[in-house]
């Protein structure tokens, strides 16, 4: 079986409920960061605590690319999702056939964890967002 490695250590976990993004919060001033920051950029405190973000956020903006990027072949869709904890997170969107035209700013998106690309025998896994099917 292929070895699975995260795109960046400590940015997400796979739970029974599904994908969860890991952020952190400054215990001194309360500022939150994703990805986690080693210090608080607001008050420079080193006293940081890890926090799990909600699994569902709202689509803030999206774009479908028709040119390749470092790891993705076109067409692929990316977006920014506003999490209830107050941060905007950029990531690829997982879109089913016919769903692309139905994307709307403000719709609910959930975090999923899956393979992003392969490097030889290794699968690089990371987070994506997919529309919440209601």
């Amino acid at each position: 079986m292929a070895e699975r490695v995260p795109i960046r250590e400590g940015t997400f976990i796979e739970s029974a409920k599904g994908g969860i993004l890991l952020a952190n919060r400054c215990k001194s001033c309360g500022q939150t960061f994703f990805p986690k920051s080693s210090i608080c950029f607001n008050c420079f405190s080193e006293d940081m605590e890890e926090m799990e973000l909600s699994r569902i956020g709202k689509l803030y903006s999206f774009a479908t690319a028709y040119m390749p990027s470092v790891h993705f072949q076109p067409p692929y869709t990316v977006g920014m999702v506003e999490m209830p904890e107050g941060m905007r997170v950029f990531g690829p969107l997982k879109i089913q056939e016919g769903e692309r035209e139905r994307l709307r700013v403000g719709m609910e998106m959930e975090v999923i964890i899956e393979k992003l690309w392969e490097e030889g025998e290794t699968e690089v896994i990371g987070y994506k967002f997919k529309p919440v099917i209601s």
């Binding site: 795109i7 960046r8 990805p35 479908t64 690319a65 470092v70 992003l116």
Partner: protein, 381 residues
């Protein structure tokens, strides 16, 4: 601080010129600037030179071709604001009295670079770059959000491109020399929805050079010295502090600092050259530079104010969309263009009676920052 003047300007032709290397392009811009300033190469005391791709002692390799050697040459990189960074180095050294005569050079050969005919790649290990962020994607996300927030339409984005391509037809230095309709722009190949090919600046080769000296000796070299009333360079702030991705706080703050330094406001400007790498972007920059209120960029465009003949023409050169964008050259090129306008030498694209102009360049996409760097200069006749 001493008052500083632009006394010599030079520019190579812009275009896809793989047969002409960085040294030839740079040499053409420097030689033209020296001639323009009626100056011998031996008068130049120091240089700041900007180049992004495959750079090593670029300044030395260019300047040795015009007989300039054995002096202080600083090579710099700051993404698309590299040229602005070179200008700052020259301006400040003269303002502080360290040197009297210096040259700022920006040069890029995109067609012979390792990224020829590709998108500008994100920095290695940039998390968002790994996850599919590209320059067109970044601006497409902003464009979509501006549409959502303010009701801006794709036709309005396309009109920026129509305007700048029209201006570019009046500029012999421009890479494109072609008029396009809104329909042409919108029916061109989709690059990153809603941005089509003709809303993207092309990859371009070119160079630009600016010679500066203290204002009190400027008339030895030119009858039309142009005063540098403000010169600002600012690095980006954290993106988490940005309440809306369509408005770059660093760009706004850099503009406000420049206005304060010059003792002027946006209403005093006669002409602006700004970073329009993608058509929607020009509308965002109107708002950040204070040419209109926040959210009213598309209305300013619709009013015709930013066309040649309008209240505040923006990118009369054709901008990056029509001129093309040799990354490190563009920050110097916008100052060359504003100086031409203020001297009254812009020919078919001349803004009538232009006395005050603003040159703007920004660049560098970094996950977590609102921008890499912003450079702004305000020039007065």
């Amino acid at each position: 601080m001493r008052e500083v003047a632009v006394i010599g300007i030079g520019q190579s032709v812009f275009g896809k010129l793989p047969q002409r290397n960085v040294v030839e392009l740079g040499r053409e811009s420097v030689w033209t600037a020296l001639k323009d300033a009626n100056m011998s190469p031996k008068d130049v005391q120091f240089a700041y030179v900007s180049r992004l791709y495959d750079a090593m002692v670029t300044g030395q390799t260019i300047l040795k071709e015009v007989g300039i050697r054995e002096m202080e040459i600083v090579n710099v990189e700051n993404a698309c604001a590299g040229g602005s960074t070179a200008l700052l180095g020259v301006w400040r050294n003269i303002a502080l009295g360290v040197y009297d005569i210096g040259i700022a050079i920006g040069v890029e050969s995109m067609t012979t670079s390792p990224i020829a005919s590709k998108l500008i790649p994100p920095a290695k290990e940039d998390l968002e770059g790994q996850l599919g962020m590209t320059m067109p994607a970044l601006f497409a996300l902003m464009a979509r959000r501006h549409m959502e927030e303010y009701g801006t339409t794709v036709e309005q984005f396309a009109r920026v491109s129509v305007k700048n391509h029209h201006h570019g037809c009046l500029n012999p230095f421009s890479q494109y020399q072609k008029e396009f309709t809104v329909e042409d722009i919108l029916s061109s190949r989709m690059i990153c929805d809603p941005i089509t090919l003709l809303q993207c600046c092309p990859n371009t080769d070119g160079a630009a050079a600016v010679i500066m000296c203290p204002m009190d000796i400027a008339r030895r070299y030119t009858s039309k010295p142009i005063k540098v009333a403000a010169c600002v360079l600012k690095s980006g702030n954290y993106a988490y502090l940005q309440d809306d991705i369509t408005f770059c706080p660093t760009d706004y703050k850099a503009a406000m600092e420049a206005y304060e330094m010059a003792g002027l406001g946006p209403d005093d400007l006669d002409v602006v050259e700004l970073h329009d790498a993608f058509a929607p972007e020009e509308i965002f920059r109107y708002e950040e530079l204070g040419l209109c209120n926040r959210g009213e960029g598309a209305q300013l465009l619709n009013s015709g104010a930013t066309e040649l003949g309008g209240r505040i023409p923006v990118n009369p050169s054709g901008g990056l969309l029509s001129m093309g964008h040799p990354l490190s050259a563009s920050g110097v090129r916008v100052v060359v263009e504003i100086a031409r306008q203020l001297r009254g030498e812009a020919e078919a694209r001349q803004v009538a009676n232009a006395k005050t102009g603003l040159a703007h360049m920004m660049g560098g996409a970094v996950a977590g920052l609102d921008v890499g760097a912003v450079g702004i200069q305000i020039l007065t006749a």
